[in-house]
C-alpha cells in the first residue's frame, strides 16, 4: 500500500478497493461485513437501542488510548448504559490527504482489537479522504445498535428520591490525559486515559440488581455535566459528597496547577449508576469484583424531587451548586 493516504483512496476506485481489501476487511472481518454489500443485513427482534457519535480528539494518540479505541468504546458505552447488549457498529472515517498509512493501520488495528474484546462486530462503514487542511488528521464516526432485554428500563428520567449514586472509579483521567497529550501547557504526567468498554461491567451490574434506575457515562463535560443532565431529566435534586469523590492525587495536582475542576474533566471508562438504596451494597460489591470497578464508590444520593439541581457537600461542611460545564475548560491563571 502507498505510504500516505491520497485523495484517490477515498474516491471509490481502485485505490479505495485496495485500501478496503488490504486494511479494513481483514481487520474487521465478520460474516456480515465480509458480504461487502451496500448495507449490513441482519435480523433482530426486540427493543433496540441505536446511537451515533463522532470522534475528533486531538492528539489522536494520547496516554492510554487513541482515537480508534475511543471511537469503539464511546459508542459501545452509549448502548451499554441504556441496558442494551451492544451488537453491531458502523465506522466511518474522514481522513486528511497525506495521512500516514502506517498510522491508519495502527488505528484500524486498535479499533478491531477493542471491538473484538467487547464482543461487537463492525458491520459497515465508510472511508473518505479530504484535501490537506480540510480536516485535522482523522475524524471517526461510529454508530451502534444493541438489544435491550424486555425487563430493562433505564432512563435519565428514572431517578428516584433515595437512590444512591455510584461511580466505578477515578474521575478526570481521560480529560487530563488528552490535555497533557496536547502539550499546550507543557505538563508531564503519567496520567492515562481510562478509555474502556463498559458493557461487560454493566452486564454484571444488571445481573446483580433489578433496581438500576439510571446509568450514564460522564464523557464530555465530566461528572458535573452528566449529573446536571440527569437532575434536569429526572426533575430531581442530587447531592454529592466532596469527600467521597474518587480522584487520584495526580489528577488533583494536574487540575490544581491549571486551576480547573476535575468534576468537569471527561471520562471514557466510567459509568454513573443510580440505584435503589437497598441494593447499594450488593451493586458496589459486584462492581468492585470487575477490573474496571476496583475503585468504585458511592458518591451521593438523589435527595428531593421538583428541584433539578446538583449540590456539592464540601469537605468543610458547606454546600454549593455544581453547575453544568459552560464553554471550554480553560486553564486559569487568575
Amino acid at each position: 500500500m502507498e505510504e500516505k493516504i491520497l485523495l484517490a483512496h477515498g474516491s471509490g476506485g481502485k485505490l479505495s478497493h485496495r485500501l478496503l481489501n488490504e486494511l479494513i476487511y481483514p481487520n474487521f472481518s465478520n460474516p456480515i461485513l465480509d458480504k461487502a454489500e451496500d448495507a449490513a443485513v441482519f435480523k433482530l427482534k426486540g427493543k433496540l437501542a441505536f446511537t451515533t457519535d463522532s470522534f475528533v480528539v486531538k492528539p489522536i494518540f494520547f496516554p492510554g488510548a487513541d482515537i480508534g479505541k475511543l471511537s469503539i468504546c464511546g459508542t459501545v458505552n452509549d448502548l451499554a448504559v441504556m441496558g442494551a447488549k451492544p451488537l453491531y457498529l458502523t465506522a466511518s472515517c474522514i481522513v486528511e490527504e497525506g495521512f500516514e498509512t502506517a498510522v491508519l493501520q495502527k488505528l484500524v488495528k486498535s479499533m478491531a482489537k477493542t471491538a473484538k474484546a467487547s464482543g461487537v462486530k463492525i458491520v459497515g462503514g465508510d472511508f473518505k479522504v479530504v484535501e490537506k487542511g480540510a480536516c485535522d488528521n482523522i475524524f471517526i464516526n461510529t454508530s451502534g445498535i444493541g438489544l435491550i432485554p424486555n425487563d430493562i428500563d433505564i432512563s435519565a428520567g428514572n431517578a428516584r428520591v433515595g437512590d444512591v449514586i455510584i461511580i466505578n472509579g477515578f474521575i478526570g483521567e481521560h480529560g487530563a490525559a488528552v490535555m497533557s497529550g496536547r502539550q499546550d501547557y507543557k505538563l508531564k504526567t503519567s496520567i492515562k486515559s481510562d478509555c474502556a468498554c463498559l458493557n461487560g461491567l454493566i452486564e454484571n451490574i444488571l445481573r446483580a440488581s433489578g433496581n438500576i434506575h439510571v446509568m450514564r457515562d460522564p464523557t464530555r463535560g465530566g461528572v458535573a455535566t452528566t449529573l446536571n443532565e440527569i437532575a434536569i431529566q429526572s426533575n430531581s435534586e442530587i447531592q454529592i459528597e466532596e469527600d467521597s469523590l474518587p480522584i487520584t492525587e495526580e489528577v488533583k495536582g494536574f487540575c490544581e496547577i491549571l486551576g480547573i475542576d476535575p468534576l468537569y474533566m471527561a471520562n471514557e471508562g466510567k459509568v454513573l449508576v443510580f440505584a435503589k438504596n437497598k441494593d447499594a451494597k450488593k451493586i458496589l460489591s459486584c462492581i468492585k469484583k470487575h477490573k474496571l470497578g476496583k475503585n468504585s464508590k458511592v458518591i451521593g444520593r438523589v435527595t428531593a424531587k421538583n428541584n433539578p439541581i446538583v449540590l456539592l457537600n464540601t469537605s468543610i461542611g458547606s454546600s454549593r451548586i455544581i453547575d453544568m460545564l459552560s464553554g471550554e475548560q480553560l486553564p486559569r491563571i487568575c
Binding site: K186, E256, G259, T314, S315, I316, I321, C334
Partner: protein, 360 residues
C-alpha cells in the same frame, strides 16, 4: 498535596468558625480584593459557615474584570490584524468587548492562542518570525514580574517580532481609590496573598496609616481565609489598623526583591483606567523607555473605536462592592457565562461568575 491539604483541614475550619462566631456584637464588612480569593471563598462555601454579621464583599480583584472597555476593544482590534498572533491567558477569551470577543474573533479566523505561561509566547514568536506575536499582559503584581522577564528576554535574544499590550495594574492604589469614594463602609481588607508575595506587606501601609483600616495578607485555603478573618476581627475590636501577614509561609514583609528588581528594570508606574473606578493615578504599569518599543499600542495603529459598556450592566458597581450580582437586572436572566454582557460574568474570577456558578 503538600501545603494545600493541611490547610483544608475540616476540624481546623470548624474550630475557626466557632471562634469567629464569638465576634457577634456588630456587623463587620470585610472586603477581598483578589479574584482568586473570591473564587476560593465561593468554591469552599465559607460564607455558609460564617455567621450573618460577617459580610464578605468582593472588590476589584479580577484584573480581567477591571480592564476598561476601551482596552478590551483595542485588544480585539489588534487580534483582527493580519499577520498578528495574539497570545493570552485563558481568562480573556470570552470577555465581551463593545462588539465582539476574542472567542468570536478566533471563530472568524483570527490567530488567537491561549498560553499557560508568558514564556510560551516567546517560543511562538521565535517559531513565527514572519509574523508579529503579541501578548495581552493583563494581571496584577503576581503576574507582572513574569511578563517583565519575557520582555527582558525578548530584548536580550533580539526577538524583534514580539510585543506586549500592557494592561498591568496595581492593587493598593485601587484599594485607596475605593476608600476615597466613601461609598461603602469597609472595616478590613483581606489582602491578596500572591500579589503580596511579590510586593511585601509595606504595599498596604498607607491603608492603615491614612484610612485607619486593618489589612491582613491571606493565603487561599479555607483555613487561611478563616484565620485571616479572625485576625481582622481581632484588630477591629482592638481598634488597630495594622498590616499583618497570615500567609507567612509564602509572604515576607519585604516581598520578593528579585521580582521587584525585574519589575523596576522593565516597567514604570503610570495612570491606568479601571472599569468601575475610572482613571487612578499611578495604578498601572507601562514599559519604561528602554523597552517602550515593545508596547503593542505604539507598534500597531489601533483604531479609536467608540467603546460602550452594555446598558444596565452593573459590573462597575459590583467591582466596587456597591452591588451584589443578584442586584443586577441582567444577572442570570440575560447575562450568563454563555452569553456574558460584562467581564464579571465571564472571567474565571469574576464576582458574577462566582455567584452564578456556585450561589445562584
Amino acid at each position: 498535596m503538600k501545603y494545600i491539604d493541611e490547610f483544608r483541614d475540616k476540624t481546623i475550619v470548624k474550630d475557626l468558625a466557632t471562634r469567629i462566631k464569638k465576634y457577634s456584637d456588630r456587623q463587620f464588612n470585610l472586603m477581598e480584593v483578589c479574584g482568586t480569593h473570591t473564587m476560593a471563598i465561593f468554591r469552599s462555601g465559607i460564607k455558609q459557615i460564617l455567621p450573618e454579621n460577617i459580610n464578605l464583599i468582593s472588590g476589584p480583584g479580577c484584573p480581567v474584570c477591571v480592564s476598561s472597555q476601551a482596552d478590551i476593544d483595542s485588544m480585539l482590534e489588534l487580534s483582527k490584524k493580519k499577520n498578528v498572533i495574539v497570545t493570552t491567558f485563558g481568562d480573556m477569551l470570552k470577555v465581551p468587548g463593545t462588539k465582539s470577543s476574542l472567542e468570536k474573533e478566533r471563530a472568524n479566523g483570527c490567530d488567537i492562542r491561549i498560553v499557560y505561561s508568558p514564556m510560551d509566547c516567546l517560543e511562538i514568536a521565535e517559531k513565527n518570525r514572519g509574523r508579529e506575536t503579541v501578548f495581552l499582559a493583563v494581571g496584577f503584581e503576581t503576574t507582572s514580574p513574569a511578563v517583565a522577564s519575557i520582555v527582558s528576554d525578548a530584548k536580550e535574544k533580539n526577538i524583534k517580532n514580539f510585543s506586549i499590550y500592557c494592561c498591568h495594574k496595581l492593587i493598593p492604589p485601587a484599594m485607596e481609590a475605593l476608600l476615597a469614594k466613601k461609598e461603602i463602609r469597609i472595616d478590613g481588607f483581606i489582602c491578596p496573598g500572591h500579589v503580596s508575595a511579590i510586593t511585601g506587606s509595606k504595599a498596604y501601609e498607607s491603608i492603615g496609616r491614612d484610612f485607619k483600616i486593618p489589612c491582613v495578607i491571606s493565603g487561599f485555603e479555607p483555613t487561611d481565609i478563616l484565620e485571616t478573618i479572625l485576625m481582622l476581627l481581632k484588630q477591629i475590636k482592638e481598634k488597630k489598623a495594622e498590616v499583618e501577614i497570615q500567609y507567612s509561609r509564602a509572604v515576607r514583609p519585604e516581598g520578593n526583591p528579585l521580582a521587584q528588581k525585574m519589575l523596576n528594570a522593565v516597567f514604570t508606574e503610570s495612570d491606568a483606567k479601571w472599569r468601575g473606578l475610572g482613571t487612578i493615578p499611578k495604578s498601572g504599569l507601562k514599559l519604561n523607555d528602554l523597552y517602550s518599543a515593545m508596547e503593542a499600542k505604539s507598534r500597531f495603529s489601533l483604531k479609536n473605536i467608540p467603546s460602550r459598556e452594555p446598558k444596565n450592566c452593573m459590573c462597575a458597581e459590583v467591582l466596587r462592592g456597591l452591588k451584589k450580582p443578584l442586584d443586577c437586572k441582567l444577572f442570570s436572566k440575560v447575562c450568563t457565562p454563555e452569553n456574558p454582557f460584562g467581564p464579571c460574568m465571564v472571567s474565571s474570577e469574576g464576582t458574577c461568575a462566582a455567584w452564578y456558578k456556585y450561589n445562584r
